[in-house]
C-alpha cells in the first residue's frame, strides 16, 4: 500500500522529534507539581488556564495539570470563564499536589453559562462542550433533560427532524458518531425510537462533540466523537437528589465510600408514559404499554496519590407491548424488550510528573428480544451484539514544548444478527443467520508541539486494523436474490475480510493575538462497522454489520479551517469554521429491503460515496445576566450511488442548507431564570412520487366495477423538500429559597415546547383513497404546544 510507505516517513520523523525533545527535557533536577482545578462542589473544571510565573498552560479535561519544575518560587494564577480567578504563591522544594477551588461567579454576578474554557487557546477545533448545568437550564420536550438533544443546538450538529434519534454531523450518517460514555462506545444511545437518549441528566457531568480535527486517540467512526462523561459522586458527604416530571421520575444517591478518597453515585429513572397515557385515553390504549428505565452507577477510588480506579455501569431497558385481541379479526400481539448493558473499569496512574497512563477494560452489550403474533403467524426475533474491549492510553509531558500521547485499543466484537423464527400456523421458518465475530484494533501516537509561543501543532497517526473471522457460514445468493443452495463455511479464526489503514490527523493553531487564533485541521477516519437501517427513525431492530467480504470499511477525509476570537476576558466568543469532507463506501439499502432475518442482507445493500461541505458560525456570550449563543450553518451534503438515482448525485436526506439556533438564558432575579430556544432548519430532502398507475386489475362482473391497486411511480431521489422546521421553546426555573442554608434544596422547572404551536411535520404522505376516489396530501405532526413541569430536589 502506497499510503503505508508515506506514513512510515511520518512515523520516523515523529520518533526522531520525540527522542530529541525527551533528551533535552530530562536534564535539570525537577519536582513534580500537580495542580487540580475544581469548582466549589469539587467537580473538576476542565480546560482552565494556568499561568505559572509567565508560562501559560491549559489544564486537561479532567481539571488536572502536571509538570516538572525546578526548585524555586512560583506564582500560580488560575482563570476559567465564569469563575473567580485563584492565585497562590508557593516555594517548590519537593513533589507537590495542589488543589485550587474556583468559585463560580454566579454568587457575585448572575448566571454562569457556557463552558469554562477558551476556544481561542485550545488546539482542538470543531469541538464544543456543554456542561450539565447549562443543559439543565434549557427548555426540553416534556421536561426530559437530554444531552444528545441539546447538542443539536450547536452548529454542524443536526437532528433528523422532530423526535428523530439520529445525529447528522457535518453530513455524516447517524452511525458515524462515536458516542462514548466514560470512554465506552454506546451502540444504541436512544430510548423509544429516539425520543429520549439514554443519558440521564443526573448522572452526567458534561458532553463534548468533536466534529473535525478528531484526535488520534479516537477512531472507529467517520464523522464525530460525542464524549459523554458521567459525574463522580461527592467524596465528602451524602446527597439524595431527584426529580418528578410529567413522564418520568429520577432519583440519585451519592456519597463517600471512604471520606475524601472514594465515592459512589447511583442514579436511576423510569418513565411512566404508559400510565399517563392510560389516564388520558384508557379505551384506545387497552393493554398496550411502553416504559423504559435506566440505572447509572459510578464508583471512584483514589487508591493513593498516584493510582485511582473508576468503575462505570449502565443498564437500560425499553419494554414495549401491544395487544389487540378484540374479536374483530385476527389477534395482534407484540412485545419487545431491548437495551444496553455497559460495564467498564479504568485504572488511572500517574507514574511521574511527566508520565501518566489509563488502562480500561470494558464489556458492552446491546440486546433485543421481540415476539409478535398476527393471527396464525408468530415471529420471534432476537438480535444484538457484545463487545469485550481493552484500551490503554499514555500521556508524556516532556516539557512545555512537547506533550506526547500513545496508546492502543482492542475490541472483540460478537454480532448476533438475528436469531429468529417465524411460524405460519404449523409451519416453522427458522432463519440460520450465524453469529459474526471480528477483531478490531488500533494503535496511535501523537505529539502536541508548541513550535513557537504562537504556533501549536498536534500531529497524530492512528493505525487501525479489522478482521472479521469465523466460525460462521454464509448462505450464497445469486444476483436475482435467489439462494444457490451453497453455503460458505469459515472455520474458527479463519479470516473472512481483513483490513488495515493509517489514519493521519493534524491540527494547527496559530495565535494571531492573545484574543484570536486561526486553526487548520486534517482528519482521516475509517469505520469498520455499519448500521443497517432503512428508515428515518432508529429501531431497536437495526443491525450493526461488520465489514467483510462484500462490505468494505467506510473512509472519510476532512479538512477544516477556522477562526476563533474572544473579548471581554473571554465573556464573548466567536468561532467561524469551514469544512470539506469526502466519504467512501457509504451504504444504502435497496428500496423496500428487508433487514430482519435476512440471510442475504449484503444483497440488499448498495454502495456509494458522499461529499459534505459547509460553513459554521458560533457566537456566544458566556457570562452576565444574559448568556447564550447563536449558531448558524450553511451546508450541503450529497451522495452518489451507481445503483441509485441512475448514478446521478442526489442530496442526502438530511442535507440542510440553512440551520440556525438561538439559545438565550436570562436571570430575571435570584429566584427566576428564563431560557429560550429558537431553531430553524431547511426541510429534509425526500423522494416523492412523480406519477401513479393502477395495477393488479380485476373486474366485478355483477356491479361492473373495476378492481385495482394504486402504485406510485418514483424517479429522482430526494428531490422534494419538506417545509422548513422551526420552533420556539421557553423554560422558567424557579428556585424558591436560593439563599437557604438548609441542606434541602429544591427547584421547579416550567417549560413550554413549541410555544407558537407550529405544526412541524413528523412525516408527510399522499393519501390515495380508492373508494372515495380522492388524492390528498397529508402531514402528521407530533407535538403541538406542549407544556411541562418538573420538580427537582437535592439534600
Amino acid at each position: 500500500m502506497r499510503g503505508v510507505t508515506n506514513t512510515n516517513y511520518i512515523i520516523r520523523y515523529l520518533v526522531l522529534l520525540l527522542l530529541g525533545m525527551m533528551t533535552q527535557a530530562s536534564q535539570a533536577q525537577q519536582h513534580t507539581l500537580t495542580i487540580q482545578v475544581v469548582d466549589s462542589t469539587l467537580i473538576p473544571v476542565g480546560h482552565a488556564t494556568i499561568r505559572i510565573n509567565k508560562r501559560e498552560m491549559l489544564v486537561d479535561s479532567s481539571g488536572t495539570y502536571t509538570a516538572g519544575f525546578s526548585r524555586g518560587n512560583y506564582r500560580i494564577y488560575i482563570t476559567a470563564v465564569g469563575h473567580n480567578p485563584a492565585v497562590q504563591e508557593i516555594f517548590l522544594r519537593s513533589d507537590s499536589n495542589l488543589r485550587f477551588i474556583l468559585h463560580p461567579r454566579e454568587s457575585l454576578l448572575t448566571s454562569v453559562f457556557v463552558s469554562a474554557y477558551s476556544n481561542v487557546r485550545r488546539n482542538q477545533m470543531s469541538a464544543q462542550r456543554l456542561s450539565i448545568t447549562q443543559i439543565k437550564k434549557l427548555p426540553v420536550i416534556l421536561g426530559e433533560i437530554d444531552p444528545l438533544k441539546t447538542i443539536t443546538l450547536l452548529p454542524g450538529v443536526k437532528n433528523g427532524g422532530e423526535a428523530s434519534a439520529g445525529l447528522y454531523i457535518r453530513g455524516g450518517g447517524p452511525d458515524q458518531n462515536l458516542v462514548l460514555l466514560d470512554g465506552i462506545p454506546v451502540y444504541n444511545p436512544n430510548h423509544l425510537l429516539g425520543f429520549f437518549s439514554i443519558f440521564n441528566g443526573d448522572a452526567i457531568r458534561n458532553i463534548e462533540v468533536i466534529k473535525g480535527g478528531i484526535p488520534a486517540e479516537f477512531g472507529g467512526r467517520l464523522s464525530s466523537v460525542i464524549d459523554v462523561n458521567s459525574r463522580e459522586g461527592d467524596k465528602d458527604s451524602f446527597h439524595l437528589s431527584g426529580g418528578i416530571g410529567l413522564i418520568s421520575s429520577r432519583l440519585a444517591v451519592e456519597g463517600p465510600l471512604s471520606k475524601g478518597k472514594s465515592s459512589y453515585l447511583i442514579s436511576a429513572r423510569r418513565t411512566y408514559i404508559d400510565q399517563v397515557a392510560k389516564l388520558v385515553a384508557k379505551d384506545s390504549l387497552g393493554d398496550n404499554g411502553y416504559y423504559f428505565y435506566d440505572v447509572n452507577a459510578k464508583l471512584d477510588f483514589q487508591l493513593n496519590k498516584k493510582n485511582a480506579l473508576a468503575f462505570t455501569f449502565y443498564l437500560g431497558k425499553d419494554d414495549f407491548s401491544f395487544v389487540d385481541d378484540d374479536e374483530d379479526g385476527p389477534d395482534r400481539r407484540f412485545n419487545a424488550i431491548w437495551g444496553n448493558t455497559i460495564l467498564g473499569l479504568t485504572w488511572k496512574q500517574q507514574l511521574s510528573y511527566k508520565l501518566r497512563q489509563e488502562l480500561s477494560v470494558v464489556r458492552n452489550d446491546f440486546d433485543l428480544d421481540s415476539r409478535m403474533i398476527y393471527g396464525t403467524t408468530t415471529y420471534i426475533y432476537a438480535s444484538g451484539l457484545t463487545d469485550y474491549a481493552a484500551k490503554n492510553d499514555w500521556v508524556y509531558t516532556a516539557n512545555r514544548w512537547l506533550k506526547a500521547k500513545a496508546g492502543w485499543q482492542y475490541t472483540w466484537h460478537n454480532f448476533r444478527p438475528g436469531a429468529g423464527s417465524s411460524t405460519a400456523g404449523l409451519q416453522d421458518f427458522k432463519s440460520n443467520i450465524e453469529d459474526r465475530h471480528a477483531h478490531e484494533a488500533a494503535a496511535y501516537v501523537s505529539a502536541d508541539l508548541n513550535i513557537t509561543p504562537a504556533i501549536n501543532l498536534v500531529a497524530g497517526l492512528r493505525y487501525s486494523y479489522f478482521n472479521q473471522v469465523g466460525p460462521t457460514s454464509f448462505v450464497v445468493y445469486d444476483a436475482d436474490g435467489s439462494p444457490t443452495g451453497e453455503t460458505e463455511q469459515y472455520g474458527k479464526g479463519q479470516s473472512i475480510g481483513s483490513y488495515h489503514y493509517p489514519e493521519p490527523r493534524f491540527s494547527l493553531l496559530y495565535k494571531l493575538s492573545p484574543q484570536s487564533s486561526i486553526k487548520l485541521s486534517y482528519t482521516r477516519t475509517v469505520q469498520y462497522l455499519h448500521l443497517a437501517t432503512t428508515s428515518a427513525a432508529t429501531f431497536p431492530g437495526d443491525l450493526w454489520v461488520p465489514s467483510g467480504r462484500k462490505i468494505k470499511p467506510a473512509q472519510a477525509e476532512q479538512v477544516a479551517a477556522g477562526y476563533a476570537c474572544d473579548w471581554h476576558d473571554g465573556a464573548w466568543e466567536l468561532n467561524v469554521e469551514a469544512y470539506y469532507k469526502t466519504m467512501s463506501n457509504q451504504i444504502e439499502f435497496k428500496p423496500g429491503a428487508r433487514l430482519l432475518l435476512n440471510q442475504n442482507l449484503e444483497g440488499e445493500m448498495v454502495f456509494g460515496k458522499g461529499t459534505a461541505y459547509g460553513l459554521e458560525v458560533f457566537f456566544q456570550k458566556k457570562t452576565g445576566r444574559l448568556t447564550g449563543w447563536i449558531g448558524y450553518t450553511l451546508s450541503r451534503t450529497e451522495r452518489t450511488f451507481p445503483d441509485l438515482n441512475k448514478g446521478k448525485t442526489f442530496p442526502y436526506r438530511y442535507d440542510r442548507t440553512h440551520d440556525a439556533s438561538l439559545v438565550l438564558n436570562y436571570k430575571l432575579s435570584r429566584k427566576w431564570d428564563i431560557a429560550s430556544v429558537f431553531v430553524y432548519g431547511t426541510g429534509n430532502a425526500l423522494t416523492m412520487p412523480t406519477g401513479r398507475f393502477a395495477y393488479s386489475l380485476g373486474f366485478n362482473r355483477n356491479e361492473r366495477t373495476p378492481i385495482f391497486t394504486n402504485i406510485n411511480q418514483y424517479e429522482q431521489v430526494n428531490d422534494y423538500r419538506m417545509p422548513a422546521y422551526h420552533r420556539f421553546d421557553l423554560a422558567f426555573t424557579f428556585t424558591p429559597r436560593p439563599d437557604s442554608k438548609k441542606r434541602f434544596k429544591s427547584s421547579w422547572n416550567f417549560g413550554v415546547y413549541n410555544a407558537y404551536n407550529r405544526y412541524n411535520p413528523y412525516f408527510i404522505y399522499i393519501d390515495v383513497d380508492e373508494d372515495l376516489q380522492t388524492i390528498k396530501g397529508k402531514k402528521v405532526f407530533l407535538f403541538p404546544i406542549v407544556p411541562s413541569v418538573t420538580w427537582n430536589f437535592k439534600f
Binding site: 396464525t376 403467524t377 409451519q427 423496500g592 393502477a694 393488479s696 380485476g698 412525516f763 393519501d767 376516489q773
Partner: protein, 307 residues
C-alpha cells in the same frame, strides 16, 4: 410479505406515540415524471380466460381518476418456446398467438378497453392459449410505435397434497358476525432450493369477479423456500374463510423474477408512514419507459368446503 409486517410492528409503537400528534391536510407539490407503459400480463396452465395482457399508461400524480388509462390498439403477441441448457431460447413461430381487445361472452360481453385476450376464447375456447409447464413464453408488444418484450417460464407445478381447516375465530364487524376458519396447505417442497410460490383463492366475495387482481391473496405469507428448502410444508395463512363457503385454492409456482416483482408490488402497495421508503416495482419487461410483469403461473389447485 414478512418485511411489511415486521416493519409495521414498529410502526404501531410510533402510532401509539403519535397519539398526541395530529394530522392535517397539506399541499404537496410534485414534479411530473415520464409517462410509463404499464404491462400486466399472465400465462397459466389451468384457466384459459386468465391468460391475458392489460396495457395502460401511468399518469401525473394529481391527475383526476384513479382507474387505469387503457392503451388500446396495440399489437400484442405471445409465442411459446423452450429454454436451452445454455439459457438461450428457441421460439416456435407457429405457436404465436395474437392477443386482441374484444368482448367475451364469459365476461358478460363487457367492454374492457386495454385488455387483450386470445380471441379463440369467444369461438373455440378449448384451443385457446394455455400455458404448458416446462415451456417458456415470450410476450411482444408494439404500442404507439415502440416495442417492448418479456419472457417468462412456466415451472413444473408443486402439487398440493391436501388442504385442512383450523384456527377458527369470530370475525365481528359493525353489523355482521362471521365464524371463520383458516386454511392450512400441505405440500412437499422440492429438494432444489429457490422455489417460490404465490397463493390465490376464489371464494364467495369474488366468485363473480374476473381477473387476477380480483382473486384473494395473502401479501404476508413467505413465498420462498429460502428457510424451508426440501421440507414437508404445512402452511397456514392468516386469512379467514366463512363457514359454509366453498373455496377454490391455488398455489402458483413462479420464477424468482416473477416472485420478486410481486414481492415489490406488495411492498409498494403498503407504502406510507414515517418509516416508509419509496419502493419501485421490479419490472420484468424490457423497453423504454415501461413497468410491469409477465407472470407465468404454474397452478396447482384444490377445492375445499369450509365447515
Amino acid at each position: 410479505m414478512k418485511t411489511v409486517l415486521l416493519k409495521r410492528k414498529w410502526m404501531w409503537l410510533a402510532v401509539c406515540l403519535a397519539a398526541v400528534g395530529c394530522e392535517r391536510d397539506f399541499e404537496i407539490d410534485l414534479n411530473d415524471g415520464q409517462p410509463q407503459l404499464i404491462v400486466e400480463a399472465y400465462i397459466n396452465n389451468e384457466m384459459p380466460l386468465y391468460n391475458y395482457v392489460v396495457l395502460s399508461r401511468s399518469k401525473d400524480f394529481y391527475e383526476s381518476g384513479l382507474q387505469n388509462v387503457a392503451v388500446t390498439g396495440a399489437m400484442v403477441t405471445i409465442t411459446e418456446g423452450m429454454r436451452m441448457p445454455d439459457n438461450t431460447y428457441q421460439w416456435d413461430g407457429a405457436t404465436t398467438v395474437q392477443m386482441k381487445e374484444g368482448r367475451l361472452q364469459q365476461l358478460n360481453n363487457s367492454s374492457l378497453p386495454g385488455f387483450y385476450f386470445d380471441q379463440r376464447l369467444a369461438t373455440d375456447s378449448i384451443n385457446a392459449l394455455m400455458g404448458k409447464p416446462g415451456k417458456s413464453y415470450k410476450l411482444d408488444i408494439e404500442a404507439d410505435g415502440k416495442k417492448y418484450s418479456a419472457i417468462t417460464e412456466l415451472l413444473i407445478p408443486v402439487a398440493i397434497d391436501s388442504l385442512t381447516l383450523g384456527n377458527y375465530y369470530l370475525d365481528k364487524n359493525e353489523d355482521t358476525v362471521y365464524r371463520k376458519a383458516r386454511i392450512t396447505v400441505h405440500y412437499k417442497d422440492p429438494d432444489t432450493i429457490g422455489n417460490t410460490q404465490l397463493y390465490y383463492w376464489r371464494h364467495w366475495e369474488n366468485r363473480n369477479s374476473f381477473g387476477w387482481g380480483a382473486l384473494g391473496t395473502n401479501r404476508y405469507t413467505p413465498g420462498t423456500d429460502d428457510l424451508i428448502n426440501g421440507q414437508y410444508v404445512d402452511l397456514t395463512l392468516s386469512n379467514g374463510f366463512v363457514i359454509g363457503d366453498t373455496v377454490n385454492y391455488f398455489m402458483s409456482s413462479v420464477e424468482r423474477k416473477v416472485y420478486n416483482f410481486w414481492d415489490s408490488f406488495n411492498k409498494a402497495r403498503s407504502n406510507g408512514g414515517p418509516f416508509a421508503t419509496p419502493v419501485s416495482l421490479q419490472s420484468t419487461i424490457s423497453g423504454e419507459n415501461v413497468v410491469g410483469c409477465f407472470s407465468g403461473f404454474s397452478l396447482s389447485g384444490k377445492t375445499i368446503s369450509i365447515k
